[in-house]
């Protein structure tokens, strides 16, 4: 279950890197596989790290990186001799900030509601988990049929409002999801 999905549950490994020119990178650093940048797994190899220097290989090229300076969540990184400034945010603080900036409506459009009355038989995810678009969240049994309810976006599970074994009405709110696709 879920192994073919890019995002692997742990939302604390997802970050937003924002450059001063407004360019934004959504960077997911899974535990055991290559980094996912803007939703695509990149074939970047980590070569070495020493103090504040990193080197990577990516499609046959070597990239030398150096931390030039660092202030809280802001960092200046030198790559192949050229400096880039980024500020980094966890996905949680990014979502929080998004909600403050009136993005809540847009975010809530991705909440999961029961398409029909029935009974929750299984829940696969927990609050705070990272979920992929199309990934099953729970199973709703209705008229002896088991229906997989899937995520409508890539996002973070904010709140699960139902429990396993609980009966639900049509249009009842099941799960709150904060989209990370915004």
């Amino acid at each position: 279950m879920g192994t073919s999905y890019i995002y692997k549950r742990d939302a604390s490994r997802l970050f937003i890197a924002l450059r001063e020119n407004g360019k934004r990178y959504k960077i997911y650093i899974p535990k055991d596989s290559k980094p996912v940048i803007n939703g695509i797994e990149k074939d970047i190899d980590f070569i070495e790290q020493e103090d504040f220097h990193y080197s990577f290989d990516w499609h046959g090229k070597r990239f030398h990186c150096e931390l030039v300076s660092r202030d809280q969540n802001k960092a200046i990184i030198k790559v192949n001799g050229v400096e880039y400034r980024f500020s980094i945010e966890s996905i949680f603080s990014y979502i929080r900030r998004g909600m403050i900036n009136n993005l809540e409506k847009q975010l809530n459009d991705n909440n999961i509601i029961a398409p029909m009355p029935g009974k929750i038989v299984d829940i696969f995810l927990s609050e705070g988990d990272l979920v992929n678009e199309g990934e099953p969240i729970l199973i709703l049994e209705a008229m002896k049929m088991q229906n997989e309810i899937t995520a409508t976006c890539n996002g973070v599970i904010r709140k699960i409002r139902v429990q396993s074994g609980q009966s639900v009405m049509k249009d009842e709110l099941l799960v709150d999801i904060n989209s990370i696709d915004v």
């Binding site: 742990d10 970050f15 103090d51 931390l67 030198k78 790559v79 001799g81 705070g128």
Partner: protein, 498 residues
Amino acid sequence: MKKRILIANRGEIAIRIIRSAHKLGLLAVVFQSDKEPDALYLKYADEIIPAHDLLLDKPIFLDMERILSLAVEHQIDMIHPGYGFLSENPDFAALCEAHQINFIGPSPQLIRDMGLKTVAKSMAIKTGLPLVPGSDGPVPDAATAKVFADKIGYPVILKASAGGGGRGMRIVEKPETIERNFKSASDEALAAFGNGDMFVEKYLQNPKHLEFQILGDKYGNVIHLGERECSLQRKHQKILEEAPSASVTPEMRQQMGEMAVRFAKSIGYYSAGTIEYIMDEDGSYFFMEMNTRIQVEHPVTEIITGVDLVDWQIRVALNEKLTLKQEDIKINGWAIECRVNTEDPQNRFSPQTGFIDKIHFPVGDNIRIETGVQSGSIVTPYFDSMIAKIIVHGDNRSDVIEKTLKALYEFSLIGLKTTVPFCRTVLQHPDFVNATYTTRWVGHVYKPEMLENEEDELIAALTATIMYASEYLQLSSDVPTYKNDTLNVWVLNKRLNY
């Protein structure tokens, strides 16, 4: 007994000269300046003279009296001045002569003459070298200036005879404005230099800088070794050079080279020297000046001709006859030199000083590295910011561009910013690839954003994130809401220092 050669210089050129000295069986002596007591060149020398210049107002390399007294004390036979410092100071060359020390370079009189632009130009006219059209001297008033300007064509540049640093200088685009510009420039010059004399010259809007390498002996033999193009400059300093130049046809090369040789012969020149030309967009060229020293960019000429210029400087100084004939000089392929300066190309090329934590140079049969530093070296504010040169040889121009770019990607320096990213940008720019770049390129075309690319940006974002993440994940391990495995982010088998 071996002859003793003193190198009155430092950095990469000191090491370069030591190499030639050893090849010719000489004993290489250098100064150890207190301003950089652990400099790399000291390791290559046979003998080191401590300069004790810590409390003096100038470094040893500029202090001719001290150089000479120490040279005499240490029984020095010859002095190589390198480039910069005292290399084109006629008084220094004369002082060497007065102490019976062989100065490696032309005679003091030649250095003096070539150092005075007006003298050099009048000597050049005699041998028929073309000069930038102009008034060839001060003009009395705006009306006379206009007569000249109308004759040579606009735009023209008005220059104060006593000028310098851009003051008393005006570019005039059209006849209607010459009077006003003449007056303001002349007033400015009068206020700044106490002399309001002005002359008029044709203004070349997009010139190229070309120079011919000359080699002569003390017996009247002079040859040229083709040209170098040094149009890529910032703040009037060269930063990337190539040889030959794509803007010079074989016929032009022959013509310009012969002219250079004729000029050098007419003034009795010996040693290595350079005749500088400025070339207009239409291909017309004009004599600018002659340099009487070995130049920073000499390796590109050495690579394509196979002639060791520093060897020959020393051999000529030792009264050897030039055994090379003009017809022996063949141009083999193409060469590019990239200067590695510790300057920030993202911030107006401001100089960077401090530690070189780690430096790695590209390696290859077609790559020549001249460096004055190694990992752990310190770049001080006392000397030039050029720490190394990367010189690459290719079969032809496009081949050498490709090979140089590859070499620059293999270069890395941790600790300071350098001009290497700038050189990479230049090598990929259509103006360079098409060889249409001019001395105005940096001022008119170059923007720091051109140094950036999307791949590097993405890697920078990733690096910043990994650094932040390694800290963040550990901090948040106290927060019960989210699962937290031990810090084992992808990278991270390698272990972060947090």
